[in-house]
C-alpha cells in the first residue's frame, strides 16, 4: 500500500541519502572543474574517512563529534600528500587526463587492499551520534538523520559562500576558468590544485563519517558512493558545484521513491536506464553546463 505518509517519509530519507551523494559529488566536480581530471580513488578516500573515525572512537576513545573533525582533517592531509607525490609530477606533461586517471586508479587499488590486509575484511560499526527519534505530525525522523542533513547542508552552504566570496575561492574559480590567465595575475595555480584535491578528499571523508553509523565500515564501502557520485555529477552538469548538490538530492529522492515502486533488485537497472536517457536527451546534464 502506497500511502502519502510513506512517500513523504521516503522523500525525507531520500534527502539524507541525497546529502551524501551531494557531498561525494561536489568533491568530484571540484576536481574536474579545476584540475580537469577524474579521481578514481575518491571512493577510497571516503572509506579512509570511515576508518579514521572508527579508530578514533574505538581505539582512542575520542568523542564522536571531535572524531568527525579529526577524520576530515586527516583525510585532507592525506589528500594533499597524495596530490603532491602522485599527481603533481604529472602536471603539464602530455597525456595528463589519462596519466592522472591511471595514477588515481593505482592509489585506489593500493588503499583498498591496504585496508583489506591491515584492517581486515570484517565490517566495523560506530555508535550513533544521537539516539532517539522526533515525531512531528505523525512523521518519524531519527535525530541521527536530521543531524546528517543539518551538517551536510551547513557545510555545503558554507563552502558555496567560501567559493564565491573568499580569496581562495576566487583563486580557485579563476584557475578553473583559465589557468594561464590566473597564473599571470599572480595566482599560484599549483598550490590551488593541491589544496583543492585535499578539500575534495575531505568532502568525501565528511560524507563517510556522517553515514558511518548507518552503513558499516569495510574496505569496499567506497565503490557505491563513487559510482553514485559520478552519476550525480553527470546529472547535475560536470564542473558545476550547484549542479552537484541539486543532482545529489534529486538522485537520493528518486532512489528512495523507486524502492516503493520497483522491486529492489531491478531498482538500479531502472536508475541506470534513466541516466542513459537523460544523457541522450540532454547531454549537458539536467542543469546544463557549457561542456559535455
Amino acid at each position: 500500500m502506497i500511502t502519502w505518509k510513506l512517500v513523504a517519509e521516503q522523500i525525507l530519507n531520500g534527502l539524507v541519502l541525497g546529502c551524501m551523494y551531494a557531498s561525494v559529488a561536489s568533491g568530484l566536480t571540484l576536481i574536474w572543474g579545476t584540475m580537469k581530471m577524474i579521481n578514481f580513488a575518491h571512493g577510497e578516500f571516503y572509506m579512509l574517512g570511515g576508518y579514521v573515525m572508527y579508530f578514533a572512537i574505538a581505539s582512542f576513545g575520542i568523542p564522536s563529534l571531535f572524531s568527525i573533525f579529526l577524520a576530515v582533517m586527516i583525510v585532507f592531509g592525506l589528500g594533499v600528500l597524495i596530490e603532491k607525490v602522485c599527481l603533481h609530477p604529472l602536471l603539464d606533461k602530455p597525456g595528463w587526463d589519462i596519466s592522472a586517471f591511471v595514477a588515481t586508479l593505482g592509489v585506489g587499488i593500493f588503499f583498498q587492499n591496504f585496508a583489506l590486509r591491515v584492517w581486515g575484511e570484517r565490517f566495523k560499526s560506530v555508535p550513533y551520534f544521537l539516539e532517539g527519534t522526533l515525531e512531528v505530525l505523525g512523521f518519524r525522523m531519527a535525530y541521527q538523520r536530521m543531524f546528517i542533513f543539518a551538517v551536510t547542508a551547513a557545510v555545503m552552504v558554507g563552502f558555496w559562500i567560501y567559493l564565491k566570496k573568499a580569496r581562495f575561492g576566487l583563486g580557485l574559480r579563476a584557475t578553473a576558468q583559465d589557468r594561464d590567465a590566473a597564473t599571470i595575475l599572480g595566482i599560484n595555480a599549483k598550490k590551488i590544485y593541491t589544496i583543492t584535491f585535499g578539500m575534495s578528499c575531505a568532502m568525501a571523508s565528511l560524507a563517510a563519517v556522517l553515514l558511518a553509523p548507518i552503513f558499516l565500515i569495510n574496505p569496499w564501502m567506497g565503490s557505491v558512493p563513487l559510482i553514485k557520485g559520478f552519476i550525480t555529477v553527470v546529472l547535475g552538469g560536470l564542473g558545476s558545484f550547484g549542479g552537484a548538490i541539486l543532482g545529489g538530492i534529486l538522485l537520493g529522492i528518486i532512489e528512495s521513491i523507486s524502492v516503493i515502486i520497483f522491486s529492489s533488485e531491478w531498482k538500479d537497472v531502472v536508475a541506470f536506464i534513466i541516466l542513459i536517457l537523460v544523457l541522450w536527451l540532454r547531454p549537458s546534464g539536467l542543469f546544463g553546463t557549457k561542456e559535455w
Partner: protein
C-alpha cells in the same frame, strides 16, 4: 616546461622497433612457445595474457584511435561470453558458431550504446554512459537467476567440439588440454591485430585519428562522424565479444562478477595505458607485462595488490604515456 616532452619524443626514434615488425616477431615467438614450454600453468597464464591483448586492443581502437573514452568495455566481453555459453547450453548451438554469434550480439549492443554517446564529448560523460550500460548488463545477468543462475555461476559450459585439420589430424579440446586453446586464442589474436593494422593504415584509420584530434575540423572536411564512431563501437564490441566467448568455453564456468565486474574494466585500462594508448603494440606489451607481472607478484602473497597499486603509480609517474612508446616506433602513415 610544457613543450619539453614533445621535443624529446623524437629522440632515439631510430633505435626503437617498428611496431609492425615487432608484431611479426611476437607472433613467431608466441607460435613456437608451446614447443619449448608445456607446463599447463604457464600456458594458462599465456592464454589469459592473449585474451587481455585482444580485449585491450579492441578498447584501444575506441579510446586511443577515435578518442571516445568508453568505460563499459567489459560489458561486451561478458555479453559475448554469456550469449555463447547460453546458446551452447540451452539451444545446443556449436560453440564455434557461438563464438561468432556472441561477437555479433556484443557488436549490436555496442552499436546501441554508441548511439547516446554520439552526442557526448567530455570523457566523464561518455565514461558514465558506457559504465551505466555495463552495470545494466551485469545486473541483468545477476537477476535473471532462472537463465544464468545469477551469482551461483553458470557452470557446465561445453568446451569446443573437436575439429579435424588436414595434415595434423583430430584436435580435441576435451579434458583440460591447454595447447589447442592456446593456438585458438593466438589465431583470434592474430586476426584481431591484422584487421586492426589494415583498418588503421587505410583511410578509415586516418578518419579515426582526425576525429580524435579535432571533431569539428574533421566534420568541416566532410568526414561522416556518426558513421566512423559507430564503426569503431561495432568493431571494438565484436572483438571483445569473441574474446568473451573464448573465455567462457575455455574456463567452462562464469559468474557475473568474474566477467562483468568493473574490475575487468580497470584491468583493461591498466593494461592499455601502461603499454601505451594509441599505439599498435602497446596494449599487447601491457597485457603480457601486467598478467605475467601479477603472477610474479604472487611471492608477496596477500600483499600482492598493495604492491600492484604502488607499482602502477610509480610506472605512470616515470612513463606517463606508456612503456610501449619507449619500445616501439609507430609506422608513419604518410611515409
Amino acid at each position: 616546461m610544457r613543450g619539453k616532452r614533445e621535443t624529446l619524443v623524437g629522440f632515439g626514434q631510430e633505435l626503437r622497433l617498428r611496431s609492425d615488425h615487432a608484431f611479426g616477431i611476437a607472433v613467431i615467438l608466441l607460435a613456437i612457445f608451446p614447443v619449448l614450454v608445456q607446463d599447463p600453468y604457464f600456458l594458462h597464464i599465456m592464454i589469459i595474457a592473449l585474451v587481455f591483448s585482444v580485449l585491450a586492443t579492441s578498447w584501444n581502437l575506441i579510446v586511443g584511435y577515435i578518442g571516445i573514452f568508453s568505460f563499459g568495455h567489459h560489458a561486451f566481453f561478458g555479453i559475448g561470453g554469456y550469449v555463447s555459453a547460453l546458446l551452447a547450453m540451452k539451444a545446443g548451438v556449436s560453440p564455434w558458431f557461438g563464438l561468432i554469434i556472441g561477437g555479433l550480439v556484443a557488436a549490436f549492443l555496442s552499436f546501441v550504446i554508441g548511439l547516446p554517446c554520439l552526442r557526448l564529448r567530455a570523457a566523464p560523460y561518455i565514461a558514465i554512459a558506457t559504465l551505466a550500460f555495463a552495470e545494466i548488463s551485469r545486473m541483468t545477468c545477476l537477476n535473471l537467476v532462472k537463465l544464468t543462475r545469477g551469482e551461483m555461476g553458470l557452470w557446465g559450459i561445453p568446451h569446443f567440439p573437436h575439429i579435424t585439420l588436414p595434415g595434423i589430424g583430430i584436435i580435441s579440446f576435451a579434458g583440460g588440454v591447454r595447447i589447442p586453446y592456446y593456438y585458438l586464442i593466438l589465431i583470434i589474436f592474430i586476426i584481431t591485430m591484422v584487421v586492426f593494422h589494415f583498418g588503421l593504415n587505410s583511410h578509415v584509420g586516418l578518419a579515426f585519428r582526425s576525429i580524435r584530434d579535432s571533431q569539428d575540423a574533421s566534420e568541416s572536411l566532410g568526414i561522416n562522424i556518426t558513421y566512423y564512431k559507430l564503426l569503431a563501437f561495432i568493431t571494438g564490441g565484436f572483438f571483445a565479444g569473441v574474446a568473451g566467448g573464448f573465455y567462457a568455453h575455455y574456463l567452462l564456468i562464469m559468474t557475473p562478477t568474474s566477467v562483468l565486474s568493473i574490475a575487468i574494466m580497470v584491468d583493461i585500462v591498466v593494461v592499455t595505458l601502461l603499454g601505451g594508448l594509441s599505439t599498435f603494440m602497446g596494449p599487447v606489451l601491457g597485457a603480457f607485462l601486467v598478467v605475467l607481472g601479477l603472477e610474479f607478484l604472487r611471492v608477496l602473497e596477500e600483499y600482492r595488490f598493495i604492491a600492484y597499486g604502488i607499482l602502477l603509480v610509480v610506472i605512470i609517474l616515470f612513463v606517463p604515456s606508456g612503456i610501449g612508446v619507449k619500445v616501439f616506433r609507430e609506422k608513419q602513415l604518410l611515409e
